[in-house]
Symmetry: C2
């Protein structure tokens, strides 16, 4: 049981308040962590080319780039800006050799209550960038987000919906599965099987704390919450998923306030014992 | 468009910090609100028989009693205690002539990560009280709660799951639909149609605020958030639902701090203009 450090990836959000991208890369190497998944703000510190060189020098895999998406907008100019930004994200993902570009698809445009309309914009947005992604050989990974984020972050909130989009859009589109967002879903088992190996592009872990004190920034370290992570991992692996297990913890109250070397040490322990 | 005051019901949670049940009943009458839905702690102030008399004297309908449920427990004694409590709730619902007993089904027992097991306990718990509910002619209304409450309040988190339970359990079990819990669901339209008139026992409204500052106690007044309430109401009414529209707002930061007569005044306005 458990995931050895060499098969773990650090999502830079986990220590985003403490470390630069360079420090994250060096930290992973120091702790024997096999991969990294940078957010774009961190990537911007070095630029994609320099980051790619540094990541390769430290022998790390890149389990993903976070993030593209945010398609819905109130007007055509906003929609176009989102597409342009997504194409740049695809270029960066290609440069760093990311296994996928994670898409946090976006929520309701300001002032809108039209979630069906937002979902249509998401579908059309992914379709619009798909040729570029295919040309760059960057798989797009739709991340279904917990329904608590439907309004302001992502209006794709179930694995079933993500699978529907994959059915619709075809080759080059898959799924980033984060246990935090999907653990509650009674259709989880069925929809992981439906996704299958081809679509499962990324596997993210953290934990759901009880109580959750902040809807965005109070995620837990694996083992500290109520998610049966080994069970979900077994479902994903039963489909043949053999990518890195990526640790992404937004934790303003706890892990972002700690010594980042302690965070990585605990994260490695917990991937071994609680994932 | 809109719901007139006579077709509105006050869920006592909306002014729970300000008013006793007696004040709630008198407040409804004063504002022309046609119904009430008490929580059991408020009902305990008067006892069910006296409450029934006072409610009838003020000409109010009772759109529901909140709440039964909370079935999952760590041991048999806890499970039995939950069943006993639910039977008492059914008796109280019968005494006050409630249209239904709302079931907030319960989450994970302390220390458990077994959500499938909790769901099985919920199914078995409802089955165990169903004969008594039928004998008392009290319909049981399963309320699917937002997935944000899966761990600690209710492990039935989609209308599809509630419909599955209704299929399984048969006559005497239906659904309490609260827009706050289901507005994000891409299957909402399909599952409301599947529920149909027979199962739609209660319709609750409030709004989803952006940002939501507290996962439990920051619900909004209708019109102040992002839910397209008129659309959802139209779906429910298309099935023939003709019950009261019940206003249930948990709002520690805002509405619970206001003059309760102002709360009822605004609530009536918003039911007319934003529901």
């Amino acid at each position: 049981m458990g995931v050895p450090a060499a098969r773990v990836s650090l999502n830079t959000a986990t220590v985003r308040e403490q470390w630069t991208l360079r420090q994250c890369i060096e930290g992973c190497a120091r702790h024997g962590i096999g991969g990294i998944s940078p957010w774009r703000d961190k990537l911007g510190e070095l630029g994609a080319a320099e980051a790619a060189r540094l990541i390769a020098d430290h022998g790390l895999e890149v389990s993903g780039l976070c993030r593209g998406g945010m398609f819905p907008a109130a007007d055509a100019a906003g929609q176009q800006a989102a597409l342009d930004d997504n194409r740049r994200a695809i270029d960066d993902a290609a440069t760093i050799g990311a296994a996928c570009l994670v898409l946090v698809v976006g929520g309701l445009p300001a002032g809108s209550k039209d979630i069906a309309g937002a979902r249509a914009q998401v579908r059309d947005g992914i379709a619009a960038i798909l040729d570029h992604a295919r040309a760059c050989q960057v798989p797009l990974a739709i991340e279904p987000l917990h329904p608590a984020y439907a309004a302001d972050r992502a209006c794709v909130n179930t694995l079933a919906h993500a699978n529907d989009l994959c059915d619709d859009l075809g080759e080059g589109v898959g799924i980033a599965l984060d246990v935090y967002h999907v653990w509650w879903d009674p259709q989880l088992e069925v929809e992981i099987e439906r996704a299958g190996r081809e679509r499962l592009l990324a596997f993210h872990v953290c934990d759901w704390l009880v109580p959750t004190k902040d809807i965005l920034l109070d995620r837990g370290m694996m083992g500290d919450g109520v998610i049966d992570i080994p069970h979900i991992r077994s479902l994903v692996e039963a489909q043949g998923f053999d990518g890195l297990t990526e640790v992404e913890i937004f934790s303003a109250r706890d892990w972002w306030t700690r010594d980042p070397d302690e965070v990585l040490r605990v994260m490695v322990e917990r991937c071994r014992d609680a994932v």
